[in-house]
Amino acid sequence: MSTTVPKKITLRTADNHEFEVDEAVAMELGTVKTFFDENPDATDEPIPLPNVSSKCLSTIIEYCKFHLSLRARGNDSSSAEEEGKVYDEELIKTHDNESLVELILAVNYLNIKDMLDTLNQGVADRIKNKSVEYVRRFFGIENDYTPEEEAEIRAQYEWAFEGVDPDDD
């Protein structure tokens, strides 16, 4: 590590807020990293992120900073792993369905694999062992099966429809 001041990169969100972050943090965003890999002579101009809101970007930057600091600790990996888990659970808990979708779309656009995995797991946990009707409401999906088609599949896989959790909304 050199003692020079770390390079800063400026990111500009869809709602026109600018975030100045350390280069190491910006490189956690796959899309930004690819941009610099392909444009090594890029100037210090802010990088526009037209698909990301400032609310999402600040969550994402916090996430990347936290997980970078955990990785930097390296050697006490078991406690770091535990702290990472607690952080991820809290991240899911503090997002309702709507803000979770928005965050997933932003993280997908920015190509941050670990964070996307965490968020997808969070969604899976929300629909695990739920009824078909609950999941349709959850995703806002219209049933396009005829009653006959639906009855046939239900009868064929009857056991998979038994013992689901009661719908809580």
Binding site: I104, L105, A124, S131, G140, I153, Y157
Partner: protein
């Protein structure tokens, strides 16, 4: 579409990634959410279940779920309990129940849908009783005489079943699941040779097996 539609914006890759994290029961159930889910969500082979030895007195099949690292149980319908598994092909298990010629029943079984497709009685094979009575009674007759079995396709309405036998190892017995009796192919081999059957990948074009002639 209803008001909270933002989930609809999720690309199919993300939905698939969410889906992969669910259990088998959830995946089967959520096929019913809508037709697009049933056809478009990618099925990764992430669920790897090893079938554990079946205890004929139990009411379920046990599998070791390599992904979750635990033993999973799938209930067996009463009519399939106490049987003997004598093979597997194209996702179908071959199951035989009964302990003597009179109550022997052989069928294809799918442990997920629990479908049972009956096969013609082995007693329609002329040499069957003679071969079986030479064996110990009280054992499942199919277990005693069948050495190999394959289906030509996972689609039970289209498939052909081929069977070879320990004692009478020069004959090949063929049937469609809905047939009344087995068709016997024999007289093909000189003394000292016998047949082994293997699955073929030609199922998209025609029902087919590979038959290997062994000395």
């Amino acid at each position: 579409m209803t008001a909270h539609a933002p989930w609809n914006q999720l690309p199919i890759d993300i939905l698939s990634s969410i889906f992969e994290r669910l259990d088998l029961e959830d995946r089967i159930r959520f096929d019913l959410v809508c037709k697009q889910w049933r056809t478009n969500l990618k099925r990764t082979p992430q669920l790897l279940w090893l079938m554990l030895p079946y205890d004929p007195s139990s009411q379920y099949l046990s599998f070791f779920d390599m992904y979750e690292g635990k033993v999973r149980k799938l209930d067996l319908p009463r009519s399939a309990q106490g049987g003997w598994f004598f093979g597997c092909s194209k996702g179908w298990l071959f199951l035989a129940t009964g302990t003597n010629v009179d109550n022997l029943r052989i069928f294809l079984f799918d442990s997920i849908s629990r479908a049972q497709i009956p096969l013609p009685p082995l007693s329609t094979i002329s040499s069957f009783e003679e071969n079986f009575t030479a064996r110990r009674s009280g054992w499942n007759p199919a277990a005693c005489i069948i050495s190999g079995v394959e289906v030509s396709s996972f689609d039970a309405s289209q498939c052909i079943v081929a069977t070879t036998f320990y004692d009478n190892n020069k004959i090949l017995a063929l049937c469609k699941p809905q047939d009344d009796r087995w068709i016997i192919v024999e007289g093909l081999l000189p003394d000292g040779y016998f047949m082994e059957i293997y699955p073929s990948l030609m199922e998209n074009y025609m029902p087919a097996f590979y038959v290997k002639i062994v000395k």
